[in-house]
């Protein structure tokens, strides 16, 4: 390990500061400020000038990063966490974004006033950045070797052969095998996780002192996320690189960060070591966030805690505490912006009552995190509303081979899947991307025709239903889509969107009745009836998802397929939607098929859970049984990979991320599809497709080792 890391260091061969040309490796001693910080942001203000006004995206942010440590900036969308980091790189969108105040001391220089040519020399050499979207962050037309070599050419003036050798070394460092050949490949030949590894290799190319990662794993699956984060953590400690990780995922922070900055509405509201912030949150926003996340490590609450309301508009933020409007602990003093209170142990919070919380908490750790621990009693009867048996969906593609030859390829998106959904329950369907969960949802909605197998809804076979029967059945099965931003027609008002199915199916006798019904539906989902005049762009993400739910409810369905209904939403909003779904279920006796990739969300809302991998069912069990005693190696790996927002739990866990990549669905492994990544795989796994084994009543797992 040590030897390799030394090789990497010398390979970078840092040339004399700003001189270029000389390649003699000079000691890489960073210039630290008085407090020993490599990066020191002070009272930073960033504004965006838009046609509608000035958005004060970052409003007085200060934080430090010391050499070799990993600092997290956590917050929800729009809180200014990404803008803060782009400002450090001086990569704000021009001309709208501008730094209007503050300083950024890095390595002995102020980056706010540094002339652009010097700033350019710094980028990619002393400070590197990794972005959220690995699919679009690499240039699609250039080989990845060149993309890694570019900073080597520009900053270290390497010649082609040296740069290529270094690029190969970097690929090996980030865990990409067969590096020599891969250098000449293009980004589309890599998976998302592999592309993010390439981005990391680019970031590390010149041996930077600071690496900023902006939501580096948000677009990745949970098992790949674990691999990437382990890699980053390992490289950071081996190479002594300081890291700033920007994320909304509290679990990642708990597992990896040394120190945490919590941002809300353009300001840092709380700062401290990860242990401090997670175990003794002192700002009500942090407390709320920690309570709002559904968790895998704690008994399940009957209802999710939610932070009501929405963050303020940063064009015209309140003068007082920005969180006051949503705060449970609000007092009169909150009309004044609170000073940052030091509660000791390097822990600060911008709250008038921080010291009070500190005093109240002493002796009663986790007072505010006490949860009411009672599973929701739900009748356990055998009355399936939906029965899926041996369902398969194979897509036939053809690939050109040779002159006029074509090769038929079959993608088994869903392969021999059987399960049932009981009336009035929520069945969770989890799995990573490409596991077939969305296709399965589309099959049940009859948006796709199955290749084989049957779907029985309410005792009737959907496959043999006549078109007129199907029309009636369609009303009973409705859907809520993932993306509330693109699933509503922007040119229709909310009222028109909800009324459309009502008029298509002539469910109401006249226009007046339709209007009344729309108003009723809106209030059912917690929106004001006057919202019906609005257009989708005037609504927030959570409100749009409520509209999506109202549209589904309009048909008085008995089954709703929820396809990732909360994955595009922030934590505090996510809780509101989940609670709404649960309330509606209780009141209207709905049944949900809840498709998601977030294990904690699925655990919270579902009574039973189906785990899928590469088109096949791996495990089916009652929720508590599944999460307490996962039987299938894949389920175990999924649960191990998902970080939970608790520092103590996370630091105690051994990290064993699932190795390897999801196999191509064009060429799935024989026998058990999971065997290529399975720690328990043996020769026998390649030979037979494991049949589901009933371990306990209602608990099935498809693994021959059980």
């Amino acid at each position: 390990m040590r030897a390799q890391s030394d090789a990497v260091r010398s390979g970078a061969g840092r040339s004399g500061a700003g001189q270029g040309g000389t390649r003699a490796p000079t000691p890489n001693a960073p210039n630290l400020d008085a407090a020993g910080a490599l990066l020191s942001v002070r009272d930073l203000h960033v504004h965006f000038v838009t046609s509608r006004g000035v958005v004060k995206a970052v409003d007085g942010v200060s934080y430090d990063v010391k050499p070799g440590e990993m600092v997290a900036i956590v917050g929800e969308s729009g809180c200014g966490k990404s803008v803060t980091s782009l400002t450090v790189m001086r990569l704000l969108a021009k001309p709208a974004g501008r730094i209007v105040g503050g300083s950024i001391q890095f390595d002995g220089r102020d980056l706010v006033t540094l002339p652009e040519p010097e700033m350019r020399e710094l980028r990619g050499r002393d400070v590197a950045m990794i972005f959220q979207e690995p699919m679009t962050s690499l240039n699609p037309v250039l080989p990845i070797g060149l993309q890694i070599m570019e900073p080597l050419f520009v900053h270290l003036k390497m010649d082609k052969a040296t740069a290529r050798a270094r690029a190969r070394e970097l690929l090996e460092l980030v865990g990409i095998p067969d590096a020599e050949r891969r250098l000449d490949m293009h980004p589309h030949e890599f998976s998302g996780g592999m592309r993010q590894r390439v981005m990391i290799a680019i970031g590390l190319a010149c041996n930077p002192k600071l690496l900023i990662a902006d939501e580096p794993t948000t677009a990745l699956d949970v098992t790949i996320q674990a691999q990437i984060l382990e890699l980053m953590k390992d490289l950071s400690s081996r190479l002594g690189i300081a890291m700033v990780v920007i994320t909304h995922n509290l679990g990642i922070v708990a597992r990896y960060a040394d120190r945490v900055n919590v941002m809300y509405a353009g300001r840092i509201v709380e700062h401290g070591t990860a242990e401090e912030v997670f175990s003794r949150p002192r700002h009500p926003y942090t407390m709320g966030l920690l309570r709002a996340v559904p968790r895998l490590d704690k008994p399940r609450d009957a209802r999710l805690y939610t932070i009501e309301g929405m963050p303020p508009n940063l064009m015209n933020p309140p003068t007082g505490c920005r969180f006051a409007e949503r705060c449970e602990h609000r007092i009169d003093a909150c009309v004044q912006y609170p000073a940052v209170v030091d509660v000791g142990r390097g822990h600060t919070a911008a709250c008038h009552r921080a010291a009070e919380f500190e005093a109240a908490d002493r002796g009663h750790p986790n007072l505010r995190l006490v949860r009411n621990d009672q599973p929701t009693p739900r009748p356990h009867h055998d009355d399936p509303i939906l029965n899926v048996a041996g369902l398969s969906k194979h897509f036939h593609l053809s690939r050109r081979t040779g002159l006029f030859g074509r090769e038929k390829v079959v993608v088994k998106a869903v392969d021999d899947v059987s399960f049932n959904v009981q009336r009035g329950e929520t069945l969770g369907l989890v799995g990573e991307s490409g596991c077939g969960k969305t296709t399965l949802g589309r099959l049940i909605l009859r948006l796709e025709d199955p290749t084989s197998g049957s779907i029985q809804f309410d005792g009737r076979d959907l496959g043999s239903a006549t078109p007129s029967e199907m029309r009636a059945l369609r009303q009973k099965i409705q859907v809520i889509f993932q993306d509330p931003f693109s699933s509503l027609n922007p040119r229709m008002t909310i009222g028109q969107i909800i009324a459309e199915p009502l008029s298509v199916y002539r469910l109401e006798p006249n226009a007046r009745a339709v209007r009344d019904r729309v108003a009723e539906l809106l209030s059912q989902v917690g929106l004001h009836p006057y919202m019906s005049e609005r257009y989708p762009h005037e609504l927030s993400g959570g409100q749009r998802q409520r509209v999506g739910i109202a549209r589904a409810l309009a048909m008085k369905p008995s089954l709703i397929v929820c396809d990732e209904p909360v994955s595009a939403l922030d934590v505090s909003i996510q809780g509101q939607i989940i609670n709404l779904l649960e309330d509606l279920q209780e009141r209207l006796g709905l049944t949900y098929l809840f498709i998601a990739h977030d294990l904690a969300v699925v655990r919270h809302i579902s009574r039973r859970v189906v785990v899928m991998y590469l088109g096949r069912v791996m495990e089916i069990a009652d929720r508590d049984e599944l999460y307490a005693h996962p039987a299938h190696p894949y389920t175990q790996a999924l649960l191990a990979a998902a970080p939970v927002p608790d520092v103590v739990v996370e630091r105690a866990r051994a990290s064993r991320p699932l190795q390897g990549e999801l196999p191509s669905p064009l060429n799935p492994p024989s026998g058990c599809v999971f065997r290529t990544r399975c720690p328990k795989a043996t020769k026998a796994c390649a030979e037979v497709v494991p049949p589901p084994v009933e371990l306990r009543p209602g608990h099935l797992a498809a693994c021959i080792h059980l």
Binding site: M89, L91, R120, E121, L122, R123, G124, R125, A128, M129, F131, E133, T136, S137, L138, N139, P140, V141, L142, P143, E150, P151, V154, H155, H186, H188, E189, M199, I202, A205, R400, G402, L403, F404
Partner: protein
């Protein structure tokens, strides 16, 4: 790659058969009788018998089905028949004229590319500055001004300012390149301007779009020079849609030089086309349509191959 090209070339045959069938029957629907026009056009009194003889000689008295079979079998042996008007083989009539038209089209393309790529790039890089405004005005003017009218302006300008007119007789480029170019550069400029205008606008919007991409931000974060970012990361991606526009416009040029050739008095296939249609010279029109179709297909193939060269994603799909 080779198999892809072979496949695409193979696809030309059914496409051309379709064009041949359509073109044959559509022309037969057109009113006008070439024999009447040819023999009685000048008001000369010709007996019905002579007319019938001429019809028989040209094969126009045969039933439609048999004429169609003749046309299709001729095609199979690359025999496009004889012009009904001049009696010379269609291939020969086209062959003597096609090169000059192709040359004008090629020159116009080169002019368009040379103008469009730098101007469009400048315009995008200096968006909303005076540079951008000037480029956009020039480009809009190019779309608004008809090329034949611009051609007339060019001729008038040369005459009035330099007291010089391009020579009347065209000569082969290989025979006398200077004389050849001094004639053909003017029509090439006249049509190239419009062509450049279309491509400039595409270049501008395409580059603006690309510069917003995430990988441009990545390139900036690597600390690359701005020029490297624009040229290596921006232009190559931005060129793809521009190439499509250039390809489509080129194919249109071949058939669309009609008026410009008239203005500059160039004996190309545009002029031939107008004459053939005016005379009702079926065989000639059919031959020209087939030629334009072949060029269209080949240009499209070239565009697709160029796409493959520039974009590895397309290369691997093919």
């Amino acid at each position: 790659m080779l198999s892809y090209i072979a496949h695409r070339l193979g696809m030309i045959v059914p496409t051309l058969i379709g064009v041949a069938v359509l073109c044959f029957f559509m022309l037969r629907i057109m009113p006008g009788d070439i024999v009447e026009l040819k023999l009685r056009g000048d008001g000369v009194a010709v007996t019905e018998e002579v007319i019938q003889q001429e019809r028989a000689r040209l094969g126009l008295d045969k039933p439609l089905a048999s004429q169609f079979v003749d046309w299709m079998t001729g095609l199979a042996t690359l025999d496009l028949g004889r012009s009904l008007w001049t009696d010379k083989p269609v291939v020969e009539e086209i062959g003597t004229r096609v090169w000059v038209s192709l040359q004008v089209a090629f020159m116009a393309t080169i002019i368009a590319v040379l103008i469009a790529i730098p101007l469009g790039t400048l315009s995008a890089l200096y968006k909303d500055t005076w540079i951008d405004y000037v480029v956009r005005v020039v480009a809009i003017a190019g779309l608004a001004v008809p090329s034949f009218w611009l051609g007339m302006l060019v001729i008038m300008g040369l005459l009035l300012l330099f007291r010089w007119l391009p020579p009347i007789e065209t000569v082969s480029f290989f025979h006398d390149p200077i004389r050849n170019l001094s004639i053909l550069i003017w029509p090439a400029l006249a049509v190239g301007y419009r062509y450049a205008a279309v491509a400039t606008r595409m270049m501008r919007s395409s580059l603006l779009e690309v510069l917003k991409e995430d990988y441009i931000r990545t390139a900036r974060a690597k600390g690359l020079y701005e020029r490297l970012i624009v040229v290596r990361h921006g232009l190559r991606n931005a060129l793809l849609p521009v190439i499509t526009v250039i390809g489509v416009e080129f194919a249109f040029l071949i058939g669309g030089l009609v008026v410009t050739e008239q203005v500059f008095n160039i004996n190309g296939i545009g002029k031939l086309f107008v004459q053939a249609v005016g005379r009702g010279d079926f065989t000639m029109v059919q031959g020209l349509v087939m030629l334009v179709a072949v060029i269209f297909i080949l240009v499209n193939l070239a565009v697709d191959l160029l796409y493959g060269v520039l974009d590895p994603r397309i290369r691997s799909k093919a």
